[in-house]
């Protein structure tokens, strides 16, 4: 079974018909992205012009995105001796953005008031990864990606994501703390200083802090239970062979 790997279309005889049917014959004609993607997918129905995720790309036009998409004809090396290569026109979309240069974000274009606007870099990267998730791009040796999230300094992350959440959690902890201190005081007569000297109260404090940190949404309770079960599951599978000892299965 020699399936020509590079072509996702039916045997060479018919591929010349199908793409021309729905595409404009000149591959470099820049068409509106969603239309072309839809039509390119229709032209290769059973053979799949890629992962089904690319279908979602047709639904994700969002012209407000600044990314331009070039329709490139796939480079096909013509093999005359039956090694069917893809000289067909296929929509190969590549992530393009004026600020994405040489496989990384050009930080000079993100300047705001003289310093780099890291929030905009994070937003741009989010957009890029979202785009790539829906339109997986072919890797290329000449155009490697070198951007990773560690280029963005730690304080930018802190300022944008950690601090607001920390404020929220501290607020919750403070409210719980004030209310519980009042409640325990009214029930036992211990003031705050005396409460802190008591072991039981210290335990309650610990539970309250851990609770505020771990349980932020209602679903978190189930998630934590599931997590504990998951972490021990693989171990249980290994120990299963030893558990048989206790049952009456020794021959």
């Amino acid at each position: 079974m020699s399936i020509s790997m590079a072509s996702f279309s039916p045997p060479p005889t018919s591929f010349s018909v199908k793409p021309h049917f729905t595409h404009k014959p000149t591959p470099f004609f820049r068409l509106k992205r969603p239309f072309l993607l839809l039509s390119s997918l229709k032209s290769l129905p059973d053979n799949g012009a890629g992962v089904s995720a690319s279908l979602a790309a047709a639904e994700d036009p969002s012209p407000k995105q600044k990314d331009l998409v070039l329709e490139k004809a796939m480079e096909g090396s013509a093999g005359p001796n039956g090694v069917a290569t893809s000289t067909e026109v296929e929509a190969l979309s590549k992530f393009e953005d004026p600020r994405w240069i040489g496989g990384t974000w050009d930080l000079k274009q993100f300047q705001k008031n003289g310093s780099t606007d890291w929030d905009a870099v994070i937003d741009a990267e989010v957009r890029r990864r979202k785009w790539l998730q829906d339109n997986p791009e072919t890797t290329s040796n000449d155009d490697p990606v070198v951007f990773d999230t560690s280029i963005i300094p730690w304080w930018a992350w802190m300022k944008r994501f950690h601090l607001p959440e920390a404020e929220l959690l501290n607020g919750r902890a403070a409210m719980i703390g004030f209310f519980m201190a009042y409640l325990v005081d009214s029930l036992t007569g211990l003031g705050l200083v005396d409460q802190m000297g008591n072991f039981f109260c210290k335990t309650l404090l610990f539970v309250a802090v851990v609770g505020v940190l771990l349980i932020r949404k209602n679903e978190d309770l189930d998630n934590i239970k599931q997590l504990i079960e998951e972490t021990t599951f693989y171990d249980k599978q290994w120990q299963a062979t030893w558990l048989d000892d206790t049952s009456s299965n020794n021959n």
């Binding site: 020509s4 090396s77 979202k130 791009e137 040796n141 070198v146 999230t149 693989y234 171990d235 062979t241």
Partner: protein, 452 residues
Amino acid sequence: MAASLLQNPLKTPFSELSIKKQKPCFLKPRHLTITATHPQLQGRKLRAAVIGGGPAGSSAAEALASGGIETFLFERSPSTAKPCGGAIPLCMIDEFSIPLHLIDRHVTKMKIISPSNLTVDFGSKSLRAHEFIPMLRREVLDSFLRTRAQSAGAQLIPSLVTHLEIPSSPFSPYIVHHTINNSRKTLAVDLIIGADGANSKVAKFIKAGNYTCAIAFQERIRLPDEKMEYYQNLAEMYVGDDVSPDFYAWVFPKCDHVAVGTGTVCAKQDIKLYQRGIKERVKNKINGGKVIKVEAHPIPEHPRPIRVRGRVALVGDAAGYVTKCSGEGIYFAAKSGRMCGEAMVRASDGGESMISEDDLKREYLLEWDEKYLSTFRFLDLLQRVFYGSNAAREALVEVCGSEYVQRMTFDSYLYKKLAKGDRLEDLKMVLGTIGSLMRCKIVGRHMEALKL
């Protein structure tokens, strides 16, 4: 006091000896093991059948035969090429004395590529000069190991095992029914090692229980020379939702072609989709190539519930000894086969006496679990943390950029030892991992929010 009375009855006067019956008082040593000695076999050596002649079976047969047990190695098709990645760790070459001319390629570079095509070079700085990942053809390796088992004294029986009769008493033999040249034959043996792979028949006969399997699907593609040059000694690993939802996709160089494949546990029916996904990702690099073979095989994800029952032990893929995260099985198959064979030899004093299920559990399972359970557990943790979502995969590739991580990975993979690292670097690595995971998770969360 009673003990002293018992010890010196002659020294005590009659008046002091009590008439009433005393309960016998045993001096209890702190650690008492009572082992019943098994009956010696009358005038014959123990007979063992190893079913399955891959790396696990051949190593088991070699260990058994060199230990003095009469061994029969069953292999239904000694010349098929098995679908397999074909990579073995460096320590296997020493431990199993594999001649270097069997190795097709020395992989010295690895690339791991994230969903956003961030590429990290694994090994260009962290592999030492004499280190590499050997890639071999399975048919070459398997036949070498089988021939070695034969020269150690095992008898190769090229037939298909059809049925296994389980005896009712602990000393009667197992009857192996097999078909050779269209004629059915039987063989009576005392011990059985099931090394017949992921769809093990032996496991079915001893009711060892089922396990979840991943499916690995790969296409062998012959590339034009200039494209093959790129993969001269480079292997690539791709992660992403488009190539596999819970595993990775690979491009491994083989003798004169590359193997492009992917695997999955939870989405087996979509495997062709993922295969298209990986071919899409490497489109530029395999352009002009010709598919010469398409193959698929199940890979066990975890050990079977029962690995030893009666005098039957499972080894290799049949037992489920495949690591998560990397899907490595050849080394563990060969090692478990050898350990099981040696355990049987040890427990039976070189084939002199019969052994029981407890002997097998003690000598083989206990040793194996002690040695490798932590490795398997750790890789399971890695798979759960890093293969779960695109965000986690991005974090994985970021983390792999660190030279220390690469060095630790190679040490653990090539030498199968939990690498001992520098404490400070370990701490930095853990903090860096947590940092990467958090950053990528934040990016992932915002990506979700962008969904229209």
